[in-house]
C-alpha cells in the first residue's frame, strides 16, 4: 500500500512540474466576427512594439470562440455576448475554473437600411415585429408598399444571440437570410433597397443607420459614442474577452495593454466605444 502511495505521489509531483514550464509567447485569439477588426488592430499594433509576441486572431463567431476556449484550442476567446451558464459549466467541468471575463469595449448594435429607404427610425417593438416576421411590409412602419427583406447573422454569432434575446425576443422569421459576418450583412443591405440588417457599429459603411427608440413615446437615437456612453441608444452591449484562468506573463501584459488608454484608443478608431 505504502509503495503504491509513493508511486502515485511521485507521478503527481512530476505532473505538477508541467505547471511551472515556461509559457510560449504565442497568443491565439478566436471568436466573435464582430470583434475581428478590433482584435486584429490590437494584435497588429501590439506586435509592432512587442516583437517577441505573436498574436494570432481568427473569427468564427462568439459561440465558436467559446467552444474553442473550452476545447483548449484558443488562449483568448472574443465574444460579443456574455458566456451562457451551460458554457460556464462546461469550462468548470473541464478546467475546474469558471473562466475570466474581461469587458474590453462597448458596442451599439446598429440597424442598417438601404440609403434610399425613407424609414428613419424604428422602435424596439417594431424591430421585434420585423425580425420575427410579424411585420412583413415596409408600409406598416412608414416605408414603401414593398416586402421587407431581412438580413441577419448565423446562430453561432454572439450578435445573433444578443439581438434575439434583447430585441426580437422570439424566433427569427424563417425568411431572415443568415450571413457570415456583419460585413456581409452591410454589403447585402447596401445592394437591396428593401433590406434591413443588424450588426456591430464598426462595419456600417455604405448603408443608412436607422435611429432606434425604446418605445413609441421615447426619442430615437442613432448609435454613436455619445449616445452609447450616455445609455441613450437602446441596443448597447459589452464586448468581452474570455480566458480559462487569470492571465499571467505575456497574456497579462497583452490584456493590460488592451485595457490601457493606448489599447482603448484603438477601440474608438475602429468604430466601437471604450469601456472606460
Amino acid at each position: 500500500m505504502k509503495l503504491k502511495f509513493g508511486i502515485a505521489s511521485i507521478v503527481m509531483l512530476a505532473i505538477l512540474g508541467f505547471a511551472f514550464m515556461p509559457a510560449q509567447k504565442k497568443i491565439t485569439v478566436k471568436g466573435s466576427d464582430t470583434m475581428v477588426i478590433l482584435a486584429q488592430k490590437w494584435a497588429e499594433v501590439y506586435m509592432k512594439s512587442h516583437a517577441e509576441t505573436v498574436v494570432q486572431v481568427t473569427g468564427g463567431g462568439s459561440g465558436t470562440g467559446i467552444s474553442a476556449l473550452i476545447n483548449g484550442a484558443t488562449d483568448i476567446c472574443n465574444s460579443s455576448r456574455p458566456m451562457k451558464q451551460t458554457e460556464m459549466d462546461k469550462l468548470k467541468d473541464r478546467y475546474a475554473s469558471l473562466g475570466v471575463e474581461i469587458p474590453c469595449a462597448k458596442d451599439g448594435i446598429t440597424i442598417f437600411l438601404h440609403e434610399s429607404n425613407p424609414v428613419k427610425e424604428l422602435s424596439l417593438k417594431q424591430l421585434s415585429n420585423i425580425f420575427s416576421g410579424k411585420t412583413r411590409n415596409w408600409k406598416e412602419v412608414g416605408g414603401p408598399d414593398e416586402d421587407i427583406k431581412l438580413y441577419g447573422r448565423e446562430n453561432s454569432s454572439g450578435t445573433y444571440v444578443f439581438f434575439k434575446d434583447q430585441v426580437v425576443k422570439a424566433d427569427y422569421a424563417a425568411n431572415c437570410q443568415t450571413l457570415p459576418g456583419t460585413a456581409a450583412v452591410v454589403n447585402a443591405v447596401s445592394k437591396d433597397k428593401l433590406g434591413i440588417g443588424y450588426g456591430g457599429a464598426a462595419y456600417a459603411a455604405g448603408v443608412k443607420h436607422c435611429a432606434v427608440k425604446k418605445d413609441d413615446k421615447s426619442p430615437a437615437f442613432v448609435a454613436n459614442a455619445e449616445t452609447v456612453k450616455k445609455g441613450q441608444y437602446p441596443i448597447t452591449r459589452y464586448l468581452y474577452m474570455y480566458l480559462k484562468n487569470r492571465p499571467t506573463g505575456e497574456m497579462k501584459a497583452y490584456i493590460d495593454w488592451i485595457l490601457s488608454p493606448e489599447g482603448q484608443s484603438l477601440v474608438t478608431a475602429v468604430g466601437y466605444f471604450p469601456v472606460k
Partner: protein
C-alpha cells in the same frame, strides 16, 4: 465609247442586282437574328424555369435541413480495463464497456425539448433518460420536466463523462441508486441571477433493490407500488469571487416514504418501533444535504467540492407464508381411533427498518495546463449511525418464535369410534440482525486524467475502500463474515479486519 457604254450597262445591271441580292441577304440575316432572338428568349425562359425549380428544391432542402438542425445527437463511450484486488473477485481483471450512450435531443419549436438517452451496453440495453422539457419562453426562468431524468443532486447530475474520478461516492450510490427517477420536476433559474431552484416529485422506488424472502428483487422494473410520491428540492447559488474564482453553495432535501411490505418496523438500532395495521403502510426516507464547490484560480484551475448528507433511509421488509402437511398419524384412546393430519403454516418475516445514516465526500481537483488533471476524493458513508462498529453483528431484533397449535376434531356420529383431527400449527419467525449492510466505509480515490482533445480523454483511477472493523470482542461474538468461493476454493471475508477491495481502472472515453 462603246466600251464605256458597255461598262455602264454592265454596272447598271450588276449594281441593282447586287442591291437586290444584298437586301435579300440582310433580310435573311434579320430573320436569322430574329430566330436566334426567339431561341434565346426560349432558352432564357427555360433557364429561368430551371433556376426557379432549383430555387424551389433548395428552399425545400433548406427547410428539411432546418428541421434536422432541431435534432441534436451527443453521446459517449467509456471502455475500460479494471483490476480488482478483492479475493472474491474472479476474474480479477477485465476489459469492459462501462457506458455506451447516445443522447437524442429534439427541439421542434423553441422551448419544447424531447430527450431520449438509451445505454447500449451489450446484453443490457436500458433507457436512462426519457423526458419532455418545457422551457418558459418569456421570462426564460422556468423549466418543467416530465419523464425519467436525474434526481436533483450535485454528484448525480454531474455526468460521469465529466467526472474526475471513475465512480460516484458511496453515499450517493446508496441513496440514489441508478441516479434517475420517474416523475416531474420544476426548475427555476432566473437568467441573470446565479440561483437555481429544483422541485421534483418522483415515484420513489427507482433503482432500489427490494428483496423478498427468497432473496429475489421484487422491484426489477421500478414500477411504483405505493401511492406515496417522494418530494425532492434543491437550491443552489453561486458567488463570484472576482477573477479569483467562484463559490457555489446549495442544499437539498428528500422527503419520501416507501411501502413497508411487513407489519413490524424497527428503529435504526434494531429496537422495536411500531407495528403497522397492514403491510401497505409506509417507512420513512427523509434526508437533507449541504453542498459547496469552490473554484479557485491557482496556477490554473483548482476545485474543492464537497457534500454532507444525513437522515433516515427506510428499508422495506417482507412477509412470506409457506405450509406443509405431515403424514397422517393414528391414536386409539378410549376405544376411539383418532386420525390426525398436521398442517404447519410458517410465516417468515423480516421487519422493515428506518436506519439513520450519514455520509459525505470531498474532492480536490487540480488542472495542470490544458491537458492534465489530477484528482483526489475522500468519501465516507455510515449506513447506520445508531449502531456502533463493535455492535454490528450483535445488534438484532428477534421476536421469539411464536408457535400455536389448534385441533379440529370431527366425529362420525355420536357413537363413533373413529374421529378425524385436522391439527394446524402456526409458526411465526420474525427477525433482523445487523451485518454487512451496517458497516461504515471510507474510500480514498486517486485519479489522473489526460485530455487528448475535447472528445477523447484517458483516465487512470485507483479506488481504496476501507471498511470499519466490526464485531470485535474478546469472545469472538458478533463477528461479521461473508463466505465466498472462487473456482471451488472457499474463502471467508472477516470484517473484523480491513478487507482488501482496491480497484484499478484505466478508462478511455470518447465523447461527441
Amino acid at each position: 465609247m462603246k466600251k464605256i457604254t458597255r461598262l455602264l450597262l454592265t454596272f447598271g445591271l450588276i449594281i441593282p442586282m447586287l442591291f437586290v441580292s444584298t437586301s435579300s441577304k440582310a433580310q435573311k440575316q434579320v430573320d436569322e437574328l430574329k430566330k436566334e432572338q426567339d431561341t434565346l428568349k426560349e432558352n432564357v425562359t427555360t433557364l429561368r424555369d430551371k433556376i426557379s425549380g432549383v430555387e424551389e428544391r433548395i428552399a425545400t432542402a433548406e427547410g428539411d435541413l432546418a428541421k434536422l438542425t432541431k435534432i441534436k445527437l451527443s453521446g459517449y463511450i467509456q471502455a475500460q480495463y479494471m483490476h480488482y484486488e478483492a479475493s472474491n473477485a474472479y476474474p480479477s481483471n477485465v476489459f469492459m464497456l462501462r457506458r455506451v450512450r447516445i443522447k437524442f435531443q429534439y427541439e421542434p419549436i423553441n422551448g419544447v425539448v424531447f430527450v431520449l438517452q438509451p445505454d447500449f451496453l451489450p446484453g443490457n440495453i436500458t433507457l436512462k433518460d426519457a423526458y419532455v422539457q418545457l422551457n418558459d419562453r418569456w421570462l426564460k426562468t422556468f423549466s418543467l420536466f416530465a419523464g425519467k431524468f436525474n434526481r436533483p443532486n450535485y454528484e448525480v447530475e454531474y455526468s460521469s463523462s465529466s467526472r474526475e474520478v471513475p465512480e460516484r461516492s458511496r453515499v450517493i450510490r446508496a441513496i440514489y441508486p441508478d441516479e434517475r427517477a420517474t416523475g416531474a420536476k420544476l426548475e427555476i433559474a432566473p437568467p441573470k441571477i446565479p440561483l437555481k431552484v429544483q422541485l421534483a416529485l418522483f415515484n420513489g422506488n427507482d433503482g432500489l433493490t427490494i428483496l423478498d424472502a427468497a432473496g429475489v428483487n421484487i422491484n426489477p422494473l421500478n414500477n411504483d407500488f405505493d401511492n406515496h410520491k417522494d418530494f425532492m428540492g434543491r437550491v443552489t447559488y453561486t458567488f463570484k469571487l472576482g477573477q479569483i474564482g467562484a463559490l457555489g453553495i446549495g442544499a437539498h432535501g428528500y422527503y419520501g416514504k416507501i411501502k413497508a411490505n411487513t407489519l413490524d418496523v424497527l428503529n435504526s438500532d434494531y429496537t422495536y418501533n411500531r407495528t403497522n395495521d397492514n403491510i401497505g403502510q409506509l417507512v420513512k426516507k427523509n434526508w437533507v444535504g449541504f453542498e459547496a464547490q469552490l473554484y479557485f484560480d491557482f496556477l490554473g484551475g483548482l476545485a474543492l467540492k464537497g457534500e454532507y448528507i444525513f437522515g433516515v433511509n427506510g428499508t422495506p421488509g417482507y412477509t412470506s407464508k409457506s405450509s406443509a402437511v405431515s403424514p397422517m398419524t393414528s391414536v386409539i384412546k378410549n376405544d376411539t381411533l383418532t386420525l390426525t393430519t398436521l398442517t404447519t403454516i410458517t410465516t417468515n418475516s423480516r421487519p422493515a427498518i428506518e436506519k439513520n445514516f450519514q455520509g459525505y465526500y470531498i474532492y480536490l481537483i487540480k488542472n495542470i495546463g490544458k491537458r492534465h488533471q489530477i484528482a483526489a476524493r475522500y468519501d465516507y458513508y455510515d449506513p447506520n449511525s445508531k449502531v456502533s462498529s463493535d455492535q454490528i453483528g450483535i445488534a438484532k431484533w428477534d421476536a421469539a418464535v411464536k408457535t400455536t397449535t389448534t385441533d379440529k376434531f370431527t366425529y362420525a356420529g355420536t357413537d363413533a369410534v373413529i374421529a378425524t383431527n385436522a391439527q394446524t400449527k402456526t409458526v411465526v419467525v420474525n427477525t433482523l440482525k445487523s451485518g454487512t449492510s451496517d458497516i461504515k466505509y471510507q474510500t480514498i480515490t486517486l485519479a489522473y486524467t489526460y485530455y487528448f482533445d475535447d472528445n477523447i480523454k484517458i483516465m487512470l483511477g485507483y479506488e481504496i475502500p476501507l471498511n470499519k472493523k466490526v464485531g470485535v470482542n474478546d469472545k469472538g461474538v458478533g463477528n461479521v463474515t461473508t463466505a465466498y468461493a472462487v473456482n471451488g476454493e472457499p474463502g471467508v471475508y472477516d470484517y473484523s479486519n480491513t478487507i482488501k477491495q482496491n480497484t484499478l481502472t484505466l478508462r478511455l472515453q470518447v465523447k461527441f
